[in-house]
């Protein structure tokens, strides 16, 4: 290794040095970095996607618009931002279960789901979601009947996906806000189903 290889140092030290160097060059502002971290740790997250799903369950015309143009439909709810272009919504049905992965890196629709969870980026998930989706789903607690087709969607820079899960039975009387409470991040990646309150998955 050359003496100019930062990799010989630990990552925390490298990040600290990189930030300080960029601050000295006037290229980043620490307050701006704080704001980005805060945005993606606490503001942009799967609650946005849950609102989209709940609206689609409650409003058939919206659901149709979502499935034909997810970018425009989520913008109706004020949801947009980096890595939000090329969003596609894919619908689960009693016969089809959709599962999303990014095999090559970590492509993920930030405005609706936030940043991807650590496990989504792991080798274990990326390598097995494609080769054995049924096995992965079973291990994650989603048992699908043999006649349910599993479709695996490999995300890319050109295409990001949000799964529109099936609305659980027994939720007819719930309003949109209550429905959104039921929708989990995992269900919008396709590694879980949405369950009605009071029922275990």
């Amino acid at each position: 290794m050359s003496e100019h290889d930062p990799s010989e140092h630990g990552p925390a030290a490298r990040v600290k040095a990189l930030e300080q160097l960029l601050v000295e060059k006037g290229l980043v502002d620490p307050a701006r970095l704080d704001a980005i971290v805060d945005t993606y740790e606490s503001k942009v997250g799967p609650r946005n996607g849950a609102r989209v799903v709940a609206r689609a369950w409650a409003d058939a015309a919206f659901r149709k618009r979502l499935l034909s143009d997810a970018v425009a439909a989520s913008a109706e709810l004020g949801i947009a931002g980096p890595e939000g272009g090329h969003l596609v919504a894919i619908e689960n049905t009693p016969r089809i279960h959709n599962l999303v992965v990014c095999t090559l890196c970590s492509c993920y629709p930030w405005p609706v789901l936030g940043l991807p969870p650590v496990w989504y980026k792991s080798f274990a998930y990326r390598s097995r979601a494609v080769s054995d989706p049924r096995g992965v789903l079973r291990e994650f607690g989603v048992d699908l009947a043999d006649d349910v087709e599993i479709r695996v969607w490999d995300s890319s820079a050109e295409q990001r996906y949000i799964v529109l899960p099936e609305r659980p039975p027994g939720t007819d009387k719930m309003n949109e806000e209550q429905l959104a409470e039921l929708v989990t991040r995992d269900s919008m990646i396709g590694v879980a189903k949405v369950t009605a309150p009071g029922k275990s998955r």
Binding site: E3, H9, P11, A13, L21, L27, P117, W119, Y125, E139
Partner: protein
């Protein structure tokens, strides 16, 4: 591969199911990358090319010998960030190493 629930997978990765970062430096590296691209110093897709190359290199090592000596995702992310920063002439490797040394003294044998 053995049975691996979502929580068990997350536990092996040192976090819980909902975590998007496992250490503060990861969040900071993410913010630097997004901040630089929003400031127009590179296009996010240029960064992504480096990220995919780093992830791919790490995957090939794992497929070959089962080790993760190239680290987990944010170590790939950081190498990709350093690569795009130096490629674009935003900073040189020499400047980076000099700054690291200035902040913490000479390289210690790998501390993660």
């Amino acid at each position: 591969m053995s049975e691996l629930g979502l929580s068990e997978l997350a536990r092996q990765l040192g976090c819980d199911e909902a975590s998007v970062f496992t250490a503060p430096w990861e969040a900071r590296a993410f913010a630097i990358a997004l901040g630089l691209s929003q400031a127009g110093l590179f296009i996010w897709d240029e960064f992504r090319e480096h990220l995919m190359a780093e992830v791919g290199a790490s995957d090939r090592v794992r497929e070959r010998d089962g080790t993760n000596r190239q680290g987990e995702y944010y170590e790939h992310f950081l190498r990709a960030l350093e690569a795009v920063v130096t490629e674009k002439g935003i900073a040189t490797r020499s400047e980076l190493v000099t700054k690291i040394t200035e902040l913490q003294g000479p390289a210690a044998p790998h501390e993660h």
